[in-house]
Symmetry: C2
Subunit: 151 residues, 2 copies
DNA sequence: ACCTAACTGAAAGTCATTTTCAGTTAGGTT
DNA sequence: AACCTAACTGAAAATGACTTTCAGTTAGGT
């Protein structure tokens, strides 16, 4: 099984969580793949790798890993909840193709000023935001010209 | 039953949809309440109003109304799909309190430039985005100081 | 009044997610 | 190294949002 960065293990221990086999398998998957995945897809991927992890544990541990801040949950337009590694210090969003589902990450989020303004006008304390941009990648633009099916 | 604006009816007819009783009840709810709601909540609200609308029809018609552009579907951080009226010509986002669920709408979305940049750098055609900002309203900030429960 | 494609509700089905529960284990303590 | 126990596990059952099916019903054009 792949190595888990010491800071990640420390993060778990410091909040009273153990580094169990399922937890290890799940983290290993994210560190190896560096991409987004749903709970169901992750479960299937782990079964294929013979990681011996139950579906229940996948759900429970994704929740724990979000809680300790190692993962982030992103809600897609289709209602799917996907999970991804939180890259330390990095602030990223996604450009998603509604034709093929391809995801392009980008940084350079222009929302900081807006959030400051909202805090002063509304009295809220802002602590996070969710932004996804939807469109069609070049390939899917061509396909739809040819009259093909899409999501 | 409340009156439905003629443009809304026209919008349905022009796309081959009829103004049925369930459709009318659902639109009436949105025009009266001017707020967001989930499919389940809307069903319960309509039952309470004795609108005589089945759950199946609620789901089917929310889908139709989104398709013709009268409603918009917003995915919340908790995974809930909520629906709201599309205000003609208006571009709005939401500031959501994770303590009490209160929603504040705001306009003044600073994403147009970002989207243009993304189009040139990635070759995507951008056609919509989803943005929600989460925080705590003044009231819930006070409550959590007092050690109360929250979402 | 008639016609018919669009539509309806009830019931059954699907599928992601959560809960329950009887054991198991990580990892600190003696 | 054996021990302790709260954290954890997987299987099975339960939940709950949403979809499909189907036998009728209706809006609205002719």
């Amino acid at each position: 099984m792949a190595k888990i960065p010491a800071e990640a293990v420390e993060r778990l221990h410091s909040q009273g969580y153990k580094l169990t086999k399922p937890r290890q398998a799940i983290l290993a998957w994210f560190f190896a793949e560096q991409t987004m995945i749903t709970a169901q897809e992750l479960y299937r991927a782990l079964v294929q790798r013979k990681a011996g992890v139950g579906l229940t544990s996948v759900y429970r541990n994704l929740e724990v890993l979000v809680e300790v801040g190692l993962l982030r949950q992103v809600c897609f337009h289709d209602g799917c909840q996907r999970f991804e590694l939180v890259q330390p210090g990095e602030h990223q969003h996604h450009l998603i193709c509604s034709g093929c589902g391809r995801v392009i990450k980008f940084s350079g989020c222009p929302l900081a000023k807006l959030e400051r303004d909202l805090e002063t006008t509304t009295g809220f304390t802002v602590d996070r935001h969710s932004l996804q941009i939807f469109g069609r990648c070049r390939q899917c633009q061509e396909e739809s010209t040819l009259g093909n099916r899409s999501i």
